[in-house]
């Protein structure tokens, strides 16, 4: 079942990042399907935990660089087919029945998605539509997007692992909010990467990132990282403010959202410390 788990994880990533390629309503449909695949991942994860089986979030690199959306849509269909062939390795028939049912619907929906040209998502031009960026702002934005896209994916998986392995309802409420918030940020930054022609799927996580012993320390470090991210957003907002009011407003908005994340982590920290 470890191979099944890994392939479902890769299917989730492939579908989520293919969503960034589309400029039509297909994007939203792929977001929804990636949500469903992520849910599948959590079902399988729960089965591991129930049966006390060790598992990891290790995945292979997910190639994404294509010229037509249909290439990735076909790739997703192939991935689903491969996952279907391995479903029997999961002994919980309720899980596999639900997964098969979801796949039946999703396969047909993907087959009917219109093709699009998507080469611009990988052309490395680093221009942003309707925005004039200085070289300095362009470089800062490029590094920020790579750092933060990986970071948001990391946070989704870290909080998901913590939630899956905890039975504490108070903490799990906070973890779920942080997962949802990170999904929103991942999607915002992923779309920007595609618009700038620098889209790539985040690298696989090292185990020790999510299998940590000290939640208290993790939260303390996380608060410091959020403070750092706030500063970076502030710097970026200033760097792009002369060329784009929209951009400046966006980064101010993200900056302020970090306050909420910090408040949630502080709430969790206070709860743990009693």
């Amino acid at each position: 079942m470890h191979q099944l788990f890994k392939e479902v994880h890769e299917l989730f990533l492939a579908t989520q990042f293919t969503g960034f390629l589309s400029q039509t309503t297909t994007r939203q449909d792929l977001y929804e399907f990636s949500n469903i695949f992520f849910k599948h991942l959590t079902w399988l994860e729960n089965d591991f935990i129930k049966n006390e089986v060790e598992y990891s979030y290790s995945v292979n690199n997910v190639p994404l660089k294509v010229t037509q959306l249909s290439h990735m849509l076909n790739n997703i269909l192939e991935r689903i087919s491969s996952v279907e062939k391995q479903l029997e390795s999961c002994k919980d028939e309720h899980i596999t029945f639900r997964m098969r049912s979801d796949f039946n619907y999703i396969i047909e929906a993907i087959k009917n998605m219109p093709d699009e040209e998507v080469a611009s998502a990988f052309d490395t031009k680093r221009d942003y539509p309707n925005v004039e960026l200085t070289d300095e702002a362009r470089d800062a934005l490029t590094v920020f997007l790579f750092e933060e896209t990986y970071k948001e994916y990391e946070l989704i998986m870290v909080y998901n692992y913590s939630k899956a392995n905890s039975r504490d309802a108070f903490l799990n409420r906070i973890f779920q909010i942080l997962i949802d918030e990170s999904f929103f940020h991942l999607r915002s930054f992923g779309q920007m990467m595609a618009d700038m022609g620098i889209l790539g799927v985040p690298r696989s996580l090292m185990e020790e990132i999510y299998k940590f012993d000290d939640l208290k320390q993790f939260l303390k470090d996380g608060i410091q990282e959020e403070i750092g991210a706030k500063e970076e957003c502030k710097r970026l907002a200033e760097a792009v403010s002369s060329s784009s009011e929209y951009f400046a407003a966006f980064f101010t908005f993200i900056n302020n959202q970090e306050n909420y994340h910090i408040a949630l982590m502080e709430e969790a920290l206070a709860y743990i410390e009693g």
Binding site: S58, N60, N61, T124, V143, E147, I198, R203, I209, Q224
Partner: protein, 153 residues
């Protein structure tokens, strides 16, 4: 293709990234100040006079610069002898002498991970139970005002 474009391509698609399960040796480069680290995995061909790096991969907890350095250095290290890899490490570390510490730290971490993996392999030729070697970097990429309270994850 200009330098920037090449770097962006490495960020978009890092080469040789990932764990290698059937490795012959692993080495680690670490930043003791903030918990950042690079692991390098080697598969070594011992058929010739000198060991040759037949396959190589890396994983990292670090920033984009670390990933780009890992992608470039592991690409350069593939299919070369250990003595050529030693030269690559020396040249890389030598180039960092004139680079500000916070910029040099990430590349130093990758170069030291490669050195650690080679040294681990050589030690294991003498003692198969020899533990993985880790080397700490000298440069510090943490801005001064943050270095007291640096995040570790």
């Amino acid at each position: 293709m200009d330098g920037n474009e090449q770097l962006v391509k490495h960020m978009m698609d890092p080469q040789n990234y990932g764990e290698m399960k059937d490795n012959d040796a692993i080495g680690m480069g670490k930043n003791p100040k903030n918990g950042e680290k690079v692991a390098i995995y080697l598969k070594v061909n011992r058929d010739g006079e000198e060991p040759v790096i037949e396959d190589i991969s890396f994983q990292a907890i670090g920033c984009s610069t670390t990933i780009v350095s890992g992608s470039i250095i592991t690409s350069e290290a593939r299919d070369i002898t250990f003595s050529r890899a030693d030269e690559l490490i020396s040249i890389t570390l030598g180039m960092l002498d004139n680079v500000p510490a916070e910029e040099a730290a990430c590349t130093e971490m990758v170069a030291l991970a490669l050195k650690a993996s080679i040294d681990t392999y050589l030690e294991r030729e003498k003692d198969s139970e020899f533990p993985m070697i880790s080397y700490m970097i000298n440069n510090d990429c943490t801005p001064k005002e943050e270095s007291e309270d640096a995040p570790t994850v």
